[in-house]
Amino acid sequence: TTRSWHFLGLENDGIIPSNSIWKKARFGQDTIIGNLDTGVWPESASFSDEGMGPIPSRWRGICQNDKDAGFHCNRKLIGARYFHQGYAAAVGSLNSSFHTPRDTEGHGSHTLSTAGGNFVEGASVFGFGNGTAKGGSPKARVAAYKVCWPPVGGNECFDADILAAFDIAIHDGVDVLSASLGGLPTPFFNDSLSIGSFHAVKHGIVVVCSAGNSGPADGTVSNISPWQFTVGASTMDRQFPSYLVLGNKKRLEGGSLSPKALPPNKFFPLISAADAKAANASADDALLCKAGTLDHSKVKGKILVCLRGENARVDKGQQAALAGAVGMVLANNELTGNEVIADPHVLPASHINFTDGVAVFTYLNSTKSPIAYITPSTTELGTKPAPFMAAFSSKGPNTITPEILKPDITAPGVSVIAAYTEAQGPTNQDFDKRRVLFNSVSGTSMSCPHVSGIVGLLKTLHPDWSPAAIRSAMMTTARTMDNSMEAILNASYFKATPFSYGAGHVRPNRAMNPGLVYDLNVNDYLNFLCALGYNQTLIKMFSERPYTCPKPISLTNFNYPSITVPKLHGSITVTRTLKNVGPPGTYKARIRKPTGISVSVKPDSLKFNKIGEEKTFSLTLQAERAGAARDYVFGELIWSDAKHFVRSPIVVKAA
């Protein structure tokens, strides 16, 4: 990606400081990152093997190109496989294009290059966001597991294929698995991603998953198992502004990556898509600029105003262009608030926020002959505030196990520029005949591989750390402040909560030296399942070893780096164990208490003398009689030796 690693502090205007995790972790050298996705475009420079040494001898994967001789792997892209029998069972017969791991969609190349792509100079989307594209672990080896195919009923990736890919990827020897996909929140053992992740984590593989794009509604987060590392999406400090100038001289800032521009300073008639509806269409559908709902004669030569929602943003641009519009204004609805996403539209366009959208519709309704102008897009860096949470990013609470806070963390996932397929245009629509080497895409799919790339670095730096220790290091060092030193906001400019960002926004340089970690092993996960009521006989079937449920067993004492109590009756004491992974030191506890809840820690000081030493503490939460929280309230616990700050969110709801 061309900006996000700067935003995350790994580099400063192209200079990589000596204390950057990139240098300390040898750029993720020889860590193997697998990606469950739409495959890979192997010709991309992001996957060139120039300067790479021999493939690690422990690698057991293959390059499955027996039916696509044009597909090749190398010392960077060391493996590629495809899994389509589950998809075939759902759709029927498959043609020859399904016998290859080649990415003809773009998503898989984008995510894999974000996690582990090379440095590639001169990357941009139509000249915007120009810079050096970089993966999080640029010296890592990568492997593509193609499990996603053209959509059927809105779904692309089927459980049977996902499970097959996990089974083989574990065998192949990946260190990290990145999965930017998911479904509705599902019980652990009815979910291929959860089952596959469980087996992967048992083998020391870190599984990083996207939280989903079903926000901003509460309870929408997917990939909610405690052995998965679940990632929400937020912005970075880069925008692609394209201004909408109205006839009343109002100048509204929107965003776009359209390479096309209107003639300088020339105003065009402005029309609401609802007023341009075709005879057989509803005004509601037309306002969304759905296919076939617009009247060409009403739109031709005008700037069309479409409302965000339902069909893809880039599809609205295409529908506007097909109807003869010279430009498009895409206005947010109330839900999407201030989240403006710059897309590579096929016509001059400006995506504006909800407030400005209201201003545009007011202007349209109050003016006889409304006119407007759209300025060409530009690239703006260092924007504030950043990060803020994307409206689309799925949110907690965790609907299956509310005691586990999900998502775990947030990372850049808006307007991320990374490698792309050359089999599709940048809007992924059939009509788009343009081709790009890099594309700007938004989603928790894009934030997930940022975290996978950082995990790759930590795997190189600390090969002995467990998946849970790596996750803990990243969570407890995450921040909840933006670049204005204010609390991270959501896209509606309200203060976001841990239900949006989990522990906060990832800070890779801090994660390499967290001081202490909340570690977990396979037995802890089995105990967790036992506490949920899974019976011992069932647990033995996937434990691979004799297992007895401990007594007493408590879900709230599960050693997760975040602390969530969804039904607080009076008071509760939870215990946690910290493991020292840094120098000897004495850590003191500090609490920011949730409103209406009193919190105490015992002991409030922990002394660690050596690496690997573990100390247990208890945290007592009590609802205060007056003003006990009936809705979720948020606080935090910080253990600090003045050098390290080990921060855990506290999330409580009084019963």
Partner: protein, 89 residues
């Protein structure tokens, strides 16, 4: 109704480095297991889409709903669920 299902059986008893014979035996055990519900090993072989043999023990198969329900009640089975679609995020 005939649909594709996943039958999850937990972990394997073979070690982390199974031989090809071990893997064949796992597949054979899946045929035998499913065959006991579908009437024959051959019916099972035809129904199975994937046999997960390395680390995850289970298989994906095309089954009728009532067959899936029967299998789910077997004590060797952890879960049986539909081969559902997931979305890219």
């Amino acid at each position: 109704i005939e649909r594709s299902y996943i039958v999850y059986l937990g972990a394997h008893s073979h070690g982390p480095e199974p031989s090809s014979d071990d893997l064949d035996q796992v597949t054979e055990s899946h045929y035998e297991f499913l065959g006991s519900f579908l009437g024959s090993r051959d019916n099972a072989k035809e129904a199975i889409i994937y046999s997960y043999t390395r680390h995850i023990n289970g298989f994906a198969a095309t089954l009728q709903d009532h067959e899936a329900a029967q299998i789910a009640n077997h004590p060797k089975v952890v879960s049986v669920f539909l081969n559902k679609g997931r979305k890219l995020h």
